[in-house]
């Protein structure tokens, strides 16, 4: 075990993957000698050479397309998109190409080795274009897996699993927590299974569900709810959004009778909507209150009023109380 932050956990996972399998290749804008603008790929070029860890020209659609070609050829590319806000030039390559590669070729070709990493989320004074949470766009795409770690231990285990998974995986890293989230991480290589949610805290009164940077706020809100009103929250980290662990969530909701889902992304068309619909289908008679959503507003991400905009523990706490008092 070693104490490290989320960024170091990502770096450690990449390092171990490159050491274990020479097909693993890291590419993206500034990821070479510089190690990436957040330093997620620090020292990888030094250790594994310029051929396996390199800068690309500044073209997200090119990075995604290039990585798809590499994966189709049998390599295991881990492509970095510098900010999730800049993944949209690559949208076509991800949605029309990577996601459909195996299907459209009748399983003759695939991009099994492909992982695309991107820092996402707000809370860093990034405004419109350094704060977005675009996960829902990709959750609407059959063929992709979408994974979001909430801390260092999850980051290392999930990224290792994503790199080894025989499907294209989008890996969204909560950049607000890159240095802020620090925790114990096992030294050896390990994986956390994709598609499995993590039960973070048990409770009887309400289920709180989130992923990535929201987990910190959900836990703080759970503490406050317990302290102020003696409410026992069950807290679940979804970890993989596509395909998501409906059974785990449904089992919890059948027990608590209440569900609150939090995400930073705008409300309309957000992933909480999909989860609500599914849970309402599977747990209708167990629900004692409407499923609560605590989300961003349906606006671009703001700069000046970021604190007010963020889905924090205070908004979650309010929603918990509203659900309990319904």
């Amino acid at each position: 075990m070693a104490e490290m932050n989320l960024l170091q956990a990502v770096n450690t996972a990449l390092d171990a993957a490159m050491a274990a399998d020479e097909r693993v290749i890291c590419l993206g804008e500034d990821v070479g000698g510089f190690g990436g603008v957040f330093r997620a790929t620090s020292h990888l070029q030094e250790k594994y050479g310029r051929e396996r860890c390199f800068n690309t020209p500044l073209t997200e659609q090119g990075i995604a397309g290039f990585a798809i070609g590499l994966a189709a050829q049998g390599k295991v590319p881990v492509a970095e998109i510098q900010f999730a806000d800049y993944i949209f030039p690559a949208f076509d390559q991800i949605v029309n190409e990577a996601a459909k590669f195996r299907y459209r070729t009748g399983n003759q070709f695939d991009v099994a080795g492909l992982t695309i990493r991107a820092p996402y989320g707000g809370g860093i004074a990034g405004g419109l274009y350094h704060s977005q949470s675009p996960e829902a766009y990709f959750c609407h795409t059959p063929g992709l897996k979408v994974v979001v770690p909430s801390g260092p231990r999850q980051a290392k285990g999930l990224l290792t699993a994503a790199i080894r998974d025989p499907n294209p995986v989008l890996f969204f890293e909560p950049k607000r927590l890159y240095r802020a989230a620090v925790g114990e991480v096992p030294d050896e290589e390990y994986t956390l299974p994709l598609g499995e949610a993590e039960l973070v805290r048990e409770g009887e009164d309400i289920t709180l569900l989130g992923w990535g940077a929201q987990m910190e706020y959900l836990l703080k809100a759970a503490d406050l709810a317990a302290a102020e009103e003696g409410i026992a929250c069950e807290v679940i980290d979804l970890r993989t959004l596509l395909p998501w662990d409906r059974d785990r969530v449904a089992a919890s909701v059948r027990k608590t009778g209440r569900l609150l889902i939090a995400h930073e992304a705008p409300r309309t068309g957000g992933y909480a909507g999909e989860i609500s619909a599914s849970i309402q289908e599977t747990c209708f008679l167990h629900l004692e209150a409407p499923i609560a959503r605590v989300t961003g507003l349906d606006t671009p991400f703001p700069l000046a009023n970021e604190k007010e905009y963020m889905t924090d523990q205070w908004k979650i706490l309010d929603a918990i109380k509203a659900s309990l008092n319904y």
Binding site: F54, A72, Q73, G106, N167
Partner: protein, 394 residues
């Protein structure tokens, strides 16, 4: 910083037409060689194989276009007029080289051994289709022949080809010396306006990928003529801008296409660099069976190009060398017509892929939600069999 260092001391602009790119021409329309032209080394066997590929492709295209009109398939798209560009280029490559095409390159598949029957399985989306009946007609692909399955979104294969070739280069690095394999990437003059084109070309050049980008400049993107597609000196001028070795050839001249392709492949594998070939040709047919060109171009224009038919030109060259005879021509045409029609007929009897295959290959294995969904769908189809074609089998 990487740019040329020559300076001037007054504003001096360079126009788009100041660096004209010449066109390699070896074979005249009458089958003779241009004066001073260097004939590429091409054995009789290979020449005949290329020619057979070209006439098979022409016949396949004619027959399938009429089969589409008869309602036997939903869609078709011909290579007509560009057979020399495609067959002449693929012939210069190794069977182990990956081909990533656009959709008008059936001649390349045929050259590598794709059978008439295999074409039919895809065109009719039967259960024998390697692509499992999932894509519209002409989206062929075969791993065995190193032909990447075609994808409809234009130009997406261009950055992918760069990445694929980079992977080939890494494999070669281990063996030492040049790359043993490279990638051949086809695309049209219209596709070259997509962002992916620029992204892919630039990445291939910067990252030194052994890939040959082969532009089929056939004058049109559906109805849009090249004059409304770009303002520069064709597509070739861009290769120069990206810093890659570039050549323009007469795409209806088999010998010019072949000579350029042999040299391009050598550059790609020996010095790990991309090469751009622009083949000037003409799409003799409609864009596809859904298109009618009479609305945007003249009969006279088409006739002018028909006189420069690449197949006729190569045939005259073969005749002149006594490598091919009228008798062989007649026999080959007859046998290909018979083959295409009988294989079409035979494959028409084959069933569609099973309903369950709908959720296969979305992921390596279907996750829970896909299993649930296919179960619900199968149950629905079973209960309402009379409303669905698949119901007949249940």
């Amino acid at each position: 910083m990487k740019h040329s260092k020559r300076s001037v001391h007054r504003p001096q602009f360079i126009s788009g037409s100041e660096l004209p790119i010449p066109t390699l021409e070896i074979l005249r329309a009458d089958g003779s060689l241009y004066e001073g032209a260097e004939e590429p080394e091409l054995s009789r066997d290979l020449a005949v194989r290329i020619y057979r590929t070209m006439i098979f492709t022409r016949i396949l295209d004619e027959r399938m276009t009429s089969a589409q009109r008869q309602g036997r398939l939903s869609f078709y798209l011909t290579c007509a007029g560009e057979e020399a560009a495609v067959a002449g280029s693929v012939a210069a490559f190794d069977p182990g080289d990956m081909i990533m095409g656009q959709y008008r390159e059936q001649a390349a598949l045929r050259f590598r051994g794709f059978s008439a029957r295999q074409f039919m399985t895809q065109l009719l989306s039967t259960r024998n289709d390697l692509g499992k009946g999932r894509q519209m007609p002409v989206h062929y692909g075969t791993r065995e022949l190193n032909f990447m399955t075609i994808s409809s979104p234009l130009a997406t294969q261009i950055p992918q080809a760069a990445g694929y070739a980079y992977g080939q280069r890494l494999d070669a690095g281990k063996a030492g010396g040049g790359a043993s394999h490279c990638t051949l990437c086809y695309y049209g003059d219209g596709a070259a306006s997509e962002g992916d084109f620029h992204a892919g070309m630039n990445m291939a050049a910067v990252l030194k990928c052994p890939v040959v980008f082969f532009c089929r400049n056939n004058g049109y993107a559906i109805s849009t003529p090249t004059a409304e597609q770009y303002a520069g000196d064709g597509i070739a001028s861009r290769g120069v801008g990206y810093g890659m070795q570039t050549i323009r050839v007469d795409g209806n001249d088999l010998l010019a296409v072949y000579a350029a392709s042999v040299a391009a492949r050598r550059i790609a594998v020996e010095s790990f660099e991309p090469v751009l070939i622009e083949a000037m040709s003409y799409r003799l047919g409609a864009h596809s069976t859904s298109d009618d060109p009479s609305g945007y171009r003249s009969r006279e224009e088409e006739d002018r190009w028909r006189e420069m038919d690449p197949i006729a030109r190569m045939r005259l060259w073969l005749y002149a060398r006594d490598w091919w005879s009228e008798g062989e021509e007649k026999a080959a045409l007859e046998s290909y017509r018979g083959e295409v029609l009988s294989e079409l007929k035979a494959e028409e009897k084959e069933p569609k892929p099973p309903l369950a295959a709908l959720v296969e290959d979305v992921y390596d294995t279907p996750p829970w939600h896909l299993r649930e969904q296919i179960e619900a769908l199968s149950e629905h189809v079973r209960r309402h069999a009379e409303h669905y074609p698949a119901g007949k089998g249940v």
